[in-house]
């Protein structure tokens, strides 16, 4: 064989051998040490709390090493988890928003937790009922709730006083919300200078969450009782969406494009004192303290219409069916949910614990602001835990935007969204 042939083959073999040596499987491991692969979206405001939790767990269980992978984007984690599950290589433990787990559970990709719960005395009654409901799919418990982020009304006390309103009397009905917002709105020519209320106009979660909050307050439901159709296109839904459209188009308490791209900056309208009221979850506290610590704001329960309701997102922990180290994963869940650890975590990131015992901690029981959130948790309606959730919410957000922009009537917009949703449910 020619020299060229021989040298090139030798080079290729060397390169392949080198590549093989760098493969992850070749890393050494201490004898007797267990490895717990943990994927979560506990980042940003929750990052330090999560790091402390993992450190405490490793101290309590010295032979378990937690390998954490964090995701800033919850959708990104959802996608990666789906691919890992499909490929049979999921992590041992994962934590994300509840509404993703329905899809995993429906595809039989989660390990039920009931046996462990029975063995270690963890009962459903220990948790806030509204937060635990979505964790059960077809009779089995697939996830356990850790903390929740219910919506409340944030408002700027200074702007209340300037408009001649009493800052200790926030609005309690839809009519009051509307009147207060109108009084605190200032326009300068064709652009708004101060918005009375935050009305969503972009295709994002705030749009669907706002609509759903108002829908529930109007006495409506997301799904019909038989679960085969949606019910948000009924008269209550139209009333809710019409309320949003009127606020934007008729009362003009906000403007399309106001505050766009300014989230998480000091120039965000609420942070900058250019917005009187906004409906948000507990992350508002962290945002304000980070970007505008001197803002004179307060929180109150959301206004009531035909009933009281809030929306909330609950973070859960769950174990994939193909996880290799389920035992260690359950140990971590038990550790996390133990009251002292849970309260330490949620206090550090200003979240509301789902376990009733943890809610009794002085931090929550004796703080007026936290009590507003605890109250909201009790009326919180969660995103429906069905596999088609993503698609239905996406359609709802698109159609609501059409109505806010005045391109479709609320009836038509909800009818179109319902058409997409019912088609998805039928499959």
């Amino acid at each position: 064989m020619s020299k060229v042939w021989r040298t090139s083959v030798a080079v290729m073999v060397l390169l392949l051998a080198g590549a093989a040596c760098v493969l992850p499987g070749c890393r050494g491991r201490a004898r007797g040490e267990q490895r717990l692969a943990f994927w979560s979206s506990l980042m940003g405001s929750k990052e330090m709390a999560r790091q402390a939790l993992i450190a405490d767990f490793e101290k309590a269980q010295p032979n378990v090493k937690v390998e954490h992978q964090g995701f800033f984007d919850i959708e990104e984690q959802n996608k990666k988890l789906l691919v890992a599950m499909a490929g049979g290589t999921p992590p041992d433990l994962a934590s994300n928003h509840l509404y993703f787990t329905a899809r995993y559970a429906a595809a039989d990709q989660l390990h039920p937790l009931d046996d462990w719960m029975r063995r270690d005395g963890i009962k459903a009654e220990q948790f806030e009922p509204s937060l635990f409901k979505g964790c059960v799919y077809q009779g089995k418990t697939y996830a356990l709730p850790v903390f929740a982020a219910p919506w409340v009304l944030y408002y700027n006390r200074e702007l209340f006083k300037k408009a001649g309103l009493d800052p200790d009397r926030p609005p309690t009905t839809w009519q009051e919300l509307r009147d207060y917002a109108k009084r605190m709105t200032i326009w300068k020519g064709s652009s708004i200078e101060q918005a009375g209320l935050d009305v969503p106009y972009q295709v994002e979660d705030t749009m669907s969450d706002t609509f759903l909050t108002l829908l529930y307050q109007a006495g409506g439901e997301f799904l019909a009782p038989d679960g085969k159709r949606v019910a948000f296109d009924g008269p209550e839904g139209v009333e809710a969406l019409q309320f949003m459209v009127d606020l934007m188009q008729k009362d003009r308490v906000c403007q399309i494009g106001f505050g766009q791209g300014l989230d998480q900056t000091p120039q965000a309208p609420f942070n900058a004192g250019k917005m009187a009221m906004s409906m948000m979850g507990p992350w508002g506290i962290i945002n304000v303290s980070k970007y505008s610590p001197n803002l004179p704001y307060a929180v109150a329960a959301l206004p009531v219409h035909k009933g009281a309701a809030s929306v909330g997102d609950v973070f859960v922990v769950f174990i994939p069916r193909a996880a290799k180290n389920k035992g260690a994963a359950w140990e971590f869940i038990r550790f996390f949910l133990a009251t002292p650890n849970l309260t330490k975590f949620t206090k550090a990131c200003y979240q509301i614990p789902a376990a009733l015992e943890a809610q009794k901690d002085a931090f929550y029981a004796q703080d007026a602001e936290m009590q507003v959130f605890i109250g909201a948790t009790k009326t919180a309606r969660l995103m429906p835990a069905i596999p088609q959730q993503g698609e239905i919410i996406a359609a709802l957000q698109q159609e609501c935007q059409q109505a806010i922009y005045g391109k479709k009537s609320p009836q038509q917009a909800l009818k179109d969204a319902a058409a997409v949703a019912n088609a998805a449910l039928a499959k």
Binding site: Q109, S190, S191, Y201, I256, G257, A394
Partner: protein, 297 residues
């Protein structure tokens, strides 16, 4: 005609085959196989967690009847028609201007090329700030001219033109550099002959420069159309297909269907439709410019 080859040449050909194998293998695995799989998946219903199931042409009939997908095809055409002719036209004029042998001209050529090498995502974020209704520079300058603030990316009518302008800014440099190279290849005596015949600047551009640059224009036309049909990054960062779906394009719909709703079968069908569209337009381009193709050989 028998091919006579010496033993040395034959041995080298053998070695060449072995050396090409790794590259061909990579190409087959990461390029050919996925394309074949996409075509196959277009005939199935596949939602990642469950295995694919055959549905025939159901995906195709479904998407061709869907208003959003049809709108995305229209938006893709609108975007292409808005960016490609303007980019190529401006690039040609720039190249002619920067072809002058002045001192320091290289600085200007580099300046116009810089946007090409910036990351699309980073550029998109900067432009989002420029377009910001309250704090953006564009509205600031408009206010100095006495014009009221515009919605830009929040306006269904203005959003796509905003994206088009950003793309022209970004892609101009690349076409300019290619045209510059093409200009270098035009023999100077053609211009001398034109001057002797009394041709001015504009006439020599039309009668000498443009015809001589036809092969370059063909190349840029085909590659620009292919890349602008595949626009995604700018839309995903700046408008997410909105507002009210005014800027969604075919690749954005593929992303939404495939990675948001996990409808891989549907997304694959859309990808095949895109492929067919791009192929048809490229073939049409090549046919129009077929004389220039023959010259290249």
């Amino acid at each position: 005609m028998a091919r006579v080859r010496s033993p040395g040449v034959r041995a080298q050909a053998g070695a060449a085959r072995w050396l090409l194998t790794p590259a061909l293998l990579l190409f087959a695995v990461f390029a050919v196989v996925p394309v074949v799989m996409t075509v196959a998946l277009g005939f199935t219903r596949y939602e990642v967690l469950t295995p694919p199931s055959w549905v025939g042409v159901a995906n195709y009939t479904d998407i061709t009847g869907e208003a959003t997908f049809l709108a995305s095809i229209w938006h893709t055409f609108y975007y292409t028609l808005g960016t490609v002719p303007v980019t190529l036209g401006l690039a040609l004029l720039l190249a002619v201007a920067l072809n002058a042998q002045l001192r320091g001209i290289v600085f200007f050529r580099a300046l116009y090329y810089t946007p090409v090498v910036t990351s699309v995502v980073a550029a998109s974020m900067i432009w989002m700030w420029l377009y910001n209704p309250q704090f953006g520079l564009l509205n600031f300058f408009l206010s100095k001219l006495g014009i009221g603030p515009q919605q830009w990316l929040s306006s269904p009518q203005q959003a796509m033109p905003c994206l088009i302008i950003m793309t022209i800014w970004k892609e101009l440099g690349y076409a300019m550099v290619i045209y510059l190279a093409g200009l270098q290849g035009i023999p100077g005596m053609l211009y001398e002959a034109a001057e002797m015949d009394g041709a001015g600047w504009w006439a020599s551009l039309r009668k000498v420069t443009l015809p001589m640059l036809r092969p370059v224009t063909l190349f840029l036309l085909v590659t620009s159309v292919i890349s602008s049909f595949q626009v995604f990054d700018a839309i995903y960062v700046m408008t997410k297909g909105g507002p009210v779906g005014a800027t969604t394009t075919v690749v954005h719909q593929i992303y939404e269907n495939g990675f948001r709703f996990l409808k891989m079968g549907r997304a694959s069908a859309m990808a095949v439709v895109l492929f067919v569209m791009i192929l048809a337009i490229s073939l049409a381009n090549l046919r129009v410019f077929r004389r220039d193709l023959e010259e290249l050989y």
